[in-house]
């Protein structure tokens, strides 16, 4: 293979030899190369296939805007699709593969699409695949997805780490070309904290690629001097490989630092990428300008590229795009390419200039004026060009320049639209305030001297502006050059989406005249490059087609992110259990030792059942219920929210929070409380105990613990700031266990210090501070969720495991069992206690049968709205019990209730089963249900209709308390 590596020059380390593969073929390159430059140096221009037509494609650009040379980089879990070969730094061992081709890049069957290209015009999806409708989902879409794909993602987990970081500065400079360097230097010398970020692997921007002269030295050497000074200053942070991708409220910038994308694998102690959030007092956009391609026939043949890209490959990477070059331009900057290529010893056939005259220096290269390239000949490489006057020129590479577009993206991220500037033929940034300003060519100042001066002026934070060095300016004159209409071949406007120049007038003709509509109809400006190269040409062509000015057509909306960002960078370290922590109760180890099966509820791991050998969940839970009801059981209830409330007005505060009254609660007693939302619907429930005149401990449901705490804070601080009360969550500070069953007192008596437990010393609903196990402080509550004679014991969290083990030991003689939330749930359904299924955000206190709890003697949250007509209607669904008429029948949660003779319909719906359990005490399935006017319908037989699972049975409405309706066991 012929080498296209120039003999000298370039910012590459020729002593290094880096081995890499592209589509399995081995190549070598040097330190300092990109994947694109190394391939070009190896004579490889064919780097990809296009999206729709599968046309052979090579690089167009030498930077972030690259639409064509997208490759799959690396392999295994590190495989990354759609990486731009122009931005991939070469390293030893790099593996890259081309995309969107089958069976091979060189011979791609998909290219037959080109033959059927009349089918693939603007809007082709809508036109071709609309009929028959049923074909879309099953046939058309999967085929299109397969054929018109970009790269494929790895299905393996990403083995690398990602970080998030924050930075604050007085001045953020985005871009490190001549403007950015001057701005950073000015800000740094004014003493501010400066961050200089640039997406490139090395700082210097265009000065790494262009032959300039500043302050009597080469542009590159001048940049090195400035960078050395900046690096020596403690108030300056230099951030190469850092793309500022978004501008957000509060002058906050998002930036991706590619910490380790340039090595084969990151060290285990470093991330691959870091997502920075940079909070800048001021910022300068010095992102430079982007050269535009020109739409002419075959402007996508590998070897056709931007003029600036061609000289970048030569000047910076010492890689020649060809042996014999034609330059096609409508502005002066194309002449630089001709001169630079000639200086590198590459033959330049001619400069094709669409204009009548130019003052630019052609360096002796013949200039053919008032002509344009109509067509490029060649398939997988350039063979020659044919001009509009039918002149044919042989060449193997084409440099094109349609003009320059300031890179305004970031300045438009907060909604403002850029303005058209006729003098430079480009959109310039909108007014963005003082905190963020564009400078240099990003602001439409296209001469080097203007860039240096603008950077100095906008970077200076205080005092006199920085002195501006002298430099040599290149000519900059530009005429419109968007589309060569004499072309017969395909003239692409948007390479990545395969949109041609003809698609835009067609879109306008079919009614899609607005740029936002034309964009969506033709797909111009979509995908990974977001139209960085093609948009302005598209706007100009649409303007002509619709008889409007470019300014009238305007741009589409610029949104973050400037370049694609990996999901890993957004996720940062917050993956797996770092995303959502696991909460374990203080009794976790105790439950684990006893073989508990845990269930994740919210963040908590709750012991769900404790199976013996051979038991399934139902057998285990049933055994746990029977053992508890016949003897004694212990259950971890530590996940309930616990809030300690203290202060002179603690009682008054609780009176406002709950619909019932707590200020009247006696010290040493507990009371069940019901909390409403301000709209009158039930919010939460739990018991609250009064430990002293000014000290209560309240409990919340597990699910609502955090929300209730936030609501209390709101109620106190925003609604009732006059109340003298403080409160704190102590959920994690206390381990709490329920000890239930006829033998619960005898069991607990063995571990409680001093106290002789009786109905007199610990009556029903007592709340006592005691000690256990020889001095461990504890709180003893006589509460029952199971309906049994039962207690809850709370000890400081660290004593939890010990206390639970001691209780198990104490209860051994009574056959104590640990029981989980399944058994707990069975027992509460047996007792008709409401829980999550009934406290579902639509039920009132009255719906739950708790209407009498609502005080009429005080104001509380939800009082007034609960009185509304719709919430007091007697036909509302309220809680009842449901049992199958045939005791052997199974009923399931979610089944609907219908009158016996009614057909299933929304109009006939009477309610539904909210909680269902197998009752080991009654030997049948039982349910709680929400049924219209249910309390008046006890005894009525109804259809229990489960359309979802195709099951139906006859049930009977009954009292929600299925078991021990007289509550005898509670006081046994």
């Amino acid at each position: 293979m012929t080498s296209f590596r120039l003999d000298k020059g370039g910012l590459i380390d020729r002593s290094s030899e880096l081995n890499f593969t592209f589509d399995g073929k081995a190549f070598t390159g040097h330190q300092g190369d990109t994947l694109a430059s190394a391939l070009i140096a190896n004579g490889v221009h064919l780097m990809g296939r296009s999206f729709k037509y599968h046309r052979p494609r090579g690089v167009i650009s030498a930077g972030a805007s690259e639409p064509n040379a997208l490759v799959e980089l690396r392999d295994g879990g590190r495989k990354e699709a759609n990486t731009r070969a122009t931005m991939v730094e070469l390293y030893d061992g790099l593996i890259a593969n081309s995309q969107n081709r089958w069976p091979s890049l060189d011979f791609d069957l998909g290219a037959v699409n080109s033959l059927a290209s009349s089918m693939f015009v603007a809007g082709f999806y809508y036109k071709t695949f609309m009929w028959p409708k049923s074909f879309w989902e099953k046939i058309y879409e999967p085929i299109i997805r397969k054929a018109a794909g970009l790269g494929t993602a790895s299905k393996l987990p990403d083995p690398d780490k990602y970080e998030k970081a924050y930075a604050h500065c007085d001045m953020l400079v985005i871009g490190s070309g001549p403007t950015g360097l001057m701005a950073a230097l000015a800000a740094a010398r004014s003493g501010g904290r400066v961050i200089l970020g640039d997406e490139g692997s090395a700082l210097g921007g265009s000065l790494l690629s262009e032959r300039e002269e500043i302050a009597g030295v080469s542009g590159y050497n001048w940049a090195q001097g400035v960078l050395a000074e900046l690096a020596s200053m403690p108030n300056v942070t230099l951030m190469p490989r850092t793309t500022v991708v978004g501008w957000f409220d509060g002058n906050i910038f998002g930036a991706i630092e590619r910490v380790n994308d340039h090595v084969i694998a990151p060290s285990p102690y470093e991330p691959r990428q870091r997502y920075w959030r940079i909070i800048a007092k001021r910022a300068v956009l010095a992102a430079g300008a982007e050269e535009r391609p020109v739409a002419f026939g075959g402007n996508d043949v590998p070897g056709v590229m931007l003029a600036s890209a061609m000289r970048t490959y030569a000047n910076r990477y010492a890689a020649a795009a060809g042996k014999s070059v034609v330059v096609f331009t409508g502005n002066d900057s194309g002449y630089r390419t001709a001169r630079d290529m000639q200086a590198h010893g590459v033959h330049v056939e001619a400069i094709i200039d669409s204009r009548t005259e130019s003052k630019a220096d052609a360096g002796g290269v013949p200039v053919l004026r008032e002509r344009m390239i109509a067509n490029v000949s060649g398939g997988k490489g350039v063979a020659g060009v044919e001009l509009t006057d039918h002149t044919k020129i042989s060449c193997d590479a084409v440099a094109m320049s349609g003009g320059w577009s300031p890179i305004v993206n970031l300045a438009c991220h907060r909604g403002a639209k850029p303005a058209w500037n006729e003098a430079i033929l480009g959109f310039v940034p909108p007014e963005t305030g003082k905190a963020f300003v564009a400078a240099g060519s990003a602001a439409g100042r296209m001469l080097l001297s203007e860039c240096l001066a603008d950077g100095a002026s906008k970077g200076t934070l205080a005092g006199k502006a920085l002195a501006v060095p002298k430099c040599r300016d290149e000519a900059f004159a530009v005429s419109p050059l968007w589309w060569v209409k004499q072309s017969t071949g395909k003239a692409f406007v948007d390479y990545q989406n395969d949109s041609t120049a003809k698609d835009l007038p067609l879109a306008a003709q079919e009614g899609y005249k607005d740029i936002e509509l034309a964009k969506r109809y033709t797909t111009t400006g979509m995908a990974t490059d977001q139209g960085k190269l093609g948009n302005v040409n598209a706007i100009a062509i649409l303007a002509e087609a619709t008889g409007k000015s470019i300014e009238q057509v305007g741009t589409t909306t610029f949104r973050p992110f400037y370049t694609p960002v990996a999901f890993g960078a957004f996720a940062g370290p917050f993956t797996g259990h770092h995303f959502q922590p696991v909460r374990k109760t203080p009794l976790h180890d105790w439950a684990d030792e006893l073989g508990a099966v845990f269930v994740e509820t919210g963040l908590w791991m709750r012991s769900s059942w404790f199976p013996l050998a051979g038991e399934d969940w139902l057998a285990s839970a049933s055994r746990e219920v029977l053992a508890t009801r016949n003897g004694v059981g212990i259950c971890d209830v530590s996940t309930l929210g616990k809030i300690d409330v203290q202060g002179r007005d603690a009682g008054a505060f609780l009176d406002r929070l709950y619909c019932n009254t707590f200020s009247t609660l006696a010290v040493g007693k507990a009371r069940y409380g019901l909390m409403l939302r301000e709209d009158g619907i039930v919010y939460d429930d739990g018991t609250t105990s009064r430990l002293a005149d000014d000290h209560y401990v309240m409990t919340t449901t597990t699910a609502n613990a955090a929300r209730v705490m936030a609501q209390m804070e709101f109620a106190h601080q925003a609604l009732f700031p006059e109340l003298d009360v403080t409160y704190v969550s102590v959920t994690e500070q206390w381990a709490q266990m329920a000890v239930a069953g006829p033998k619960s007192r005898a069991t607990l008596q063995k571990i409680v210090d001093d106290l002789v437990m009786s109905d007199e010393t610990v009556p029903y609903m007592a709340a006592k501070e005691v000690t256990v196990l020889g001095g461990v402080p504890a709180r003893l509550f006589r509460l029952s969720f199971s309906g049994e004679h039962a207690y809850e014991l709370a000890v400081p969290a660290d004593y939890g495991n010990m206390a639970a083990r001691a209780i198990c030991q104490a209860g051994e003689e009574f056959g104590i069992v640990p029981y989980g939330v399944e058994a707990l749930s069975i027992m509460r359904v047996e007792k008709g206690h409401v829980a999550g299924g009934e406290l579902n955000g639509t039920t009132t206190a009255a719906d739950l049968g708790l209407g009498k709890m609502m005080s009429t003697k005080k104001d509380y949250i939800g009082r007034m709205m609960a009185m509304r007509e719709g919430l007091t209607d007697t036909n509302r669904q309220c809680v009842v019990g449901i049992r199958p008429v045939e005791p052997g029948d199974r009923i399931r949660s979610g089944a609907h209730i219908l009158k016996l003779d009614d057909k299933p319909s929304m109009a006939n719906d009477q309610g539904y089963l909210s909680s269902v359990a197998w009752s080991p005490m009654l030997n049948m399935w039982i349910a709680l249900a929400l049924v219209s006017n249910g309390r008046a319908r006890h005894g009525e037989r109804v259809r229990v209709w489960d359309g979802l699972r195709g099951h139906e049975t006859i049930g009977e409405i009954c009292d929600p308390v299925h078991f021990d309706r007289e509550n005898k066991r509670l006081h046994a």
Binding site: F248, G250, Q717
Partner: protein
């Protein structure tokens, strides 16, 4: 967006949760005749363009309820006081 919390200093917006218009005042009457006021308080909210006083809970910080005054169109933050001070000042930031 950055929020100047009176307790914690300037903090990123992600640390806060929001609860809407802070200028509405909870009625004090439990007289059924006041139902309209209650309905307005619970359900009706303006959606102004421009300056807006909004409840914010610094859940990822000091846990104080705050009132952030900001421009809904530009997201410029004018100031931030505690909900307690806001309530005591009669609903003014």
């Amino acid at each position: 967006m950055l929020i100047p919390c009176p307790h914690c200093g300037t903090r990123p917006v992600e640390e806060f949760t929001f609860l809407g218009d802070a200028s509405v005042k909870r009625p004090t009457s439990n007289d059924p005749a006041s139902m309209d006021q209650w309905f307005d308080y619970v359900y009706l909210r303006d959606n102004p363009k421009g300056r807006f006083d909004e409840y914010a809970h610094h859940a990822g910080g000091c846990r104080a309820w705050l009132v952030v005054s900001r421009n809904t169109a530009t997201h410029e933050v004018y100031g931030c006081v505690t909900a307690r001070d806001y309530a005591k000042a009669g609903g003014k930031s």
